[in-house]
Symmetry: C3
Subunit: 170 residues, 3 copies
C-alpha cells in the first residue's frame, strides 16, 4: 500500500455515490486508451497533475520515481504525442479490466482519495493476447466543472519483470 | 470502437440506474454460460436479435460477419442445442469476468446502447486455466416485460489468433 | 453451481443496495489479502464461520472438504498465523480481481446468499505475473454491528491442476 492511501472513514452513502462516479470515470479513461485515443488521455487530468507508473517494490520502498513520471499536463501531452507517433509503427490492441474501486478518504476541500485494481492485456499482430501488467491505481481526484479529474494517478504494478519498451499509458 | 457505438450524453442519474441493471443482466448471463446452462442462453435475447462474435480487425474494417453470426432467436436455439450435445464429449469449465460496463445512449423508444469488457477463461480436463479471449461487448438492449433483453450483442475480441474450434457462446 | 446457491427472487431495489455492500466488502477483503495483512483476514468472518477452498469437480460432486477447510474463527486465526510466518521466507505479491457480484437470496433472519467471480494473480520475486486461480465465491453473509460479515465462504476454483503449496487465503 502506498503511504498516504490509508483506509479512512467515508460515510457509506457518500462513499457509494463517489464510488459510482469513479467507476464511470475509470471506464471512460480505459475506453479512451483501449480505443487508441491517446490524445484524449491528458484530458482526464488537471493541469498540475502527477502521473506515475512504478513497481510495487519501488512503491513499498518509498522511492518517488519509477518507470514513468510526468508532472504537469504539459508532460502528459508530450508523452501522448510521442506515443501517437510510435503507435503507427507498432500496432497493438490494449484492453483494461478495472475492478475493486474503493473510496478511501474525502477531505473538506473536495479532494477524493481512491484506489482500483487493473489488469492490462496486450495483443500484438499475429500473436496471442498476453497479460501485460496487473496492479493498483492510487488516485487523488478533484472536481473540475462538476466532473472528476485526476490530480494524481500512481499506477503500481506487481510484475517485477516488465517490458521496458512499454510507453503507452496505463 | 464499433461504428454506431459513440459515446452519447446520457444524464448521470439515468446512466447510473441503467448501468446497474446492465451489470445485473451481464452477471446473470455469465452465470448461465459458466454453469453450462447453454439452453438458457437464447432467453437473454429478443426474438429478432442479432448475435455475433468477431475480431477487432474485422470490426474496425466494418466487416459485418465474423467467427459466429446468428440472426433471430431460432439460430441462437439451434446453436445452443448443437453446443449442448458437443459439451457432453468435450467437458470444459468456463468463467467470465465482465467489467467496465458503460451506458452510451438511450433513445426515445427505449433502446439502450452499452458496452462492457470481458475476459473469458477456459479450463480443460487435467490442464491449467487459460485465458481464452478478452474483448468488448457492444450491446443494444430493449425492455421486455420490464426486464432487459438483448436486441444486439457484438462480441469483439482482441486476440488475432483464436481457436476456431470455439463454438460456445461468449 | 453449488447446491443451496440457486437463484432466488430478491426484489431489485433490495438486491441493488445489498450488492453494493457486498462489493465494498469484497474489495476491503481483497485489499487486506493483497496488502499482506493476513492477520486482518479472520476479522471478515463471524465466530462460527466456515471457510473452504475446493475445486469445481469436488463441489459439483457434492464433496464437502477440498484443499482447505476451516470451521470456526479459531482455525482461521491459526491459518493466518502460520501464513504470516511462512510469508517471511517466500515473499510474493498477490492481486485479486473480484467481479460479477450477485445477490441470490435474503431470508427473514437476515442471512444473505451471494456469489462473485475472482481471478487471483501471483508474482514471485524476479518472475512474471501468473494467473494463480480463477473461481467463484459462494457466500453467506450476516450483519454484525451493522456491517456485513461472512458466515460461509466457499472458494470454488476452476483449475483442475493447482499448486498444492498454495496456503494463502483466496
Amino acid at each position: 500500500m502506498l503511504k498516504g492511501f490509508e483506509d479512512g472513514a467515508v460515510p457509506a452513502g457518500e462513499a457509494r455515490a463517489l464510488c459510482w462516479e469513479i467507476e464511470a470515470f475509470n471506464r471512460a479513461y480505459a475506453t479512451a486508451l483501449d480505443d487508441g485515443r491517446v490524445e484524449d488521455w491528458p484530458g482526464f487530468f488537471v493541469d498540475d497533475a502527477l502521473y506515475r507508473i512504478t513497481g510495487r517494490e519501488n512503491a513499498d520502498a518509498g522511492l518517488p520515481v519509477g518507470l514513468v513520471y510526468c508532472e504537469g499536463v504539459g508532460m502528459l501531452k508530450d508523452r501522448a504525442l510521442a506515443i501517437a507517433r510510435t503507435m503507427m509503427f507498432a500496432p497493438r490492441y490494449l484492453l483494461h479490466q478495472i475492478t475493486n474501486e474503493r473510496v478511501l478518504a474525502l477531505d473538506g476541500a473536495g479532494l477524493i482519495t481512491a484506489t482500483a485494481n487493473y489488469a492490462l492485456y496486450e495483443t500484438l499482430v499475429d500473436q496471442r493476447t498476453t497479460l501485460l501488467q496487473v496492479g493498483r491505481y492510487y488516485d487523488r481526484f478533484v472536481r473540475h466543472d462538476g466532473a472528476l479529474r485526476l490530480r494524481e494517478r500512481h499506477c503500481v504494478y506487481d510484475s517485477l519483470i516488465i517490458d521496458t519498451a512499454l510507453i503507452y499509458p496505463v
